[in-house]
């Protein structure tokens, strides 16, 4: 190539690299937005569930359903962003090229979506359901959901479930729910394990899941040990704690109440 040829060649390289970098930047920005919205959705879900201060199981369930629908509503913003990215990602070759930029936001989205799904159904969201939220009205996916993004996304769910279980601990029926969540997470951990040889990142997430699981197990242990000191059914214990909390929040003299309660139940 002569000097001029070199100029021309590098000019075309510049165009190519610029186009790639611009698209990359756009996707990173979008991914960041998606992460933010998803994080907020998760907080919203936690908040709504905790606010529903009800002791009635069916009321609680409808509160969960309400939270889930609110969460899904918020996640529609994410779906709109993905719809606008459709052109950037639609062809498969591009998808693989920019997967590193897309994955973080996508996993966060799956985490939020799976949490809403869990609150509503008490199950793990199937990947087909995730894909369903990421397609246009014509049924064409914005981009294909890969197994790894799906698994890494739902793997993050376990951390949220831990938070959900622990924060509900002090409430009526919270402990039995926590033990359900605990066994759900335990099963998740056990079943995701077999995929770790295929996905290095899943290994790290499994460690986090194990930690969450341990926190829940420790909490359950503490409850079991203390409950054994009383000769009461779990429901009665729940009631006891609940009554105490109710009086404690209305009475100024908490110490006196506590002394009285201790006297009454011992």
């Amino acid at each position: 190539m002569t000097s001029n040829d070199i100029r021309d060649a590098f000019e075309s390289f510049r165009e190519e690299l610029d186009e790639h970098n611009d698209r990359r930047e756009r996707l990173i920005k979008a991914s960041r937005d998606i992460t933010n919205i998803s994080k907020r959705t998760i907080f919203l879900l936690h908040r709504l569930v905790q606010e529903s201060n009800t002791s009635d199981p069916s009321e609680y369930l409808s509160a969960c359903k309400h939270a889930a629908s609110k969460g899904r509503e918020k996640l529609r913003q994410v779906q709109q962003i993905y719809a606008s990215l459709k052109e950037e990602l639609i062809d498969e070759e591009r998808y693989w090229r920019y997967q590193k930029q897309v994955s973080p936001g996508l996993q966060e989205y799956i985490e939020a979506l799976s949490f809403a799904w869990f609150l509503e159904n008490g199950t793990l969201i199937p990947s087909a359901e995730v894909q369903k939220t990421l397609m246009g009205e014509d049924g064409a996916p914005y981009f294909p959901l890969t197994t790894s993004d799906y698994l890494l996304g739902v793997s993050d769910l376990t951390g949220e479930l831990m938070r959900y279980a622990i924060s509900g601990f002090g409430r009526l029926g919270g402990r039995s729910r926590a033990s359900e969540v605990c066994s759900f997470v335990r099963n998740c951990r056990a079943d995701f394990e077999r995929f770790t040889p295929y996905m290095w990142e899943l290994n790290k997430k499994q460690d986090v899941t194990s930690q969450s699981l341990m926190k829940m197990e420790d909490a359950a242990y503490a409850v079991a040990v203390r409950a054994s000191e009383y000769d009461m059914s779990p429901d009665q214990l729940d009631q006891l704690v609940n009554d105490f909390l109710a009086t404690a929040s209305t009475s100024d003299d908490i110490d006196r109440d506590r002394d009285r309660d201790r006297y009454r139940y011992s």
Binding site: M1, I6, A9, E11, L17, S127, P141, F184
Partner: protein, 237 residues
């Protein structure tokens, strides 16, 4: 879309269904299980053996007189022309459209091959090899460009290695009594540097390696300076 992987797993609240083994099979077949990274690695090792042999031979340019260079390059050509078969074998393994998914595995080997091809081209023609010429030498086919191809980025990496090597050659050719070579290298490298300066590089390895080019340029300039100061260069024609 055949490459979509469906994973249907349902966990019920009360009765937890274990994933059946077919879940695993569904999740990783047919597309993902079809790619065996081990097989890709085998081909890359094959390519590496070739590039390393060529690289070793090319090292002798620093101790070879100018008139013996063509023979040295000729001894490399057979190995270089055997590279396309390895690359073609690689293309067979990679699933359609998944070039970007796997390319990181072989980009280093490919960049070295680009370097070898560009150095051979410079030594015989005295010019810069084009991207098209390089991919032709490597036997890249249009019909599998979605699986294996030579990207501009990999080409540019190879060219930077070429400049790194030429700054060494400028020094060593003077040691061998070839005072003309540094001047040729200098103008050649300046053209390349001007080209790289046109690119808007982001903060990645290409950018860092581009930053290293100025030291090569400086080194070559110093050699040219030393040689011309002592009037060792032949009078310009």
């Amino acid at each position: 879309m055949t490459w979509m992987i469906s994973t249907d797993c349902l966990i019920t609240r009360h009765r937890y269904e274990k994933y059946s083994s077919s879940f695993l099979a569904r999740a990783f077949s047919p597309d993902e299980s079809a790619v065996n990274p081990q097989k890709i690695r085998e081909q890359i090792t094959e390519l590496d053996i070739k590039t390393r042999r060529m690289n070793g031979k090319l090292n002798r340019i620093h101790s070879t007189q100018r008139d013996a260079i063509p023979a040295l390059v000729d001894s490399i050509r057979p190995i270089l022309s055997s590279c396309p078969s390895t690359i073609a074998a690689l293309a067979v393994i990679i699933p359609a459209h998944q070039y970007w998914r796997w390319k990181d595995m072989w980009c280093n080997s490919l960049r070295t091959t680009v370097f070898v091809a560009s150095l051979c081209h410079y030594l015989t023609e005295g010019t810069l090899i084009s991207l098209k010429q390089t991919s032709d030498i490597l036997g890249m086919q249009d019909e599998w460009k979605d699986r294996v191809a030579l990207s501009a980025e990999d080409y540019l990496h190879g060219i930077i290695t070429l400049v790194n090597e030429l700054s060494r050659l400028a020094v060593n050719s003077v040691t061998l009594g070839n005072y003309e070579e540094p001047l040729k290298i200098s103008s050649f490298v300046k053209d390349i540097f001007a080209g790289f300066s046109m690119l808007n590089l982001k903060n990645d390895t290409l950018r860092r390696r581009f930053d290293s080019l100025k030291y090569d340029l400086k080194k070559i300039e110093e050699v040219v300076y030393d040689v011309s100061l002592r009037k060792l260069t032949p009078p310009s024609k």
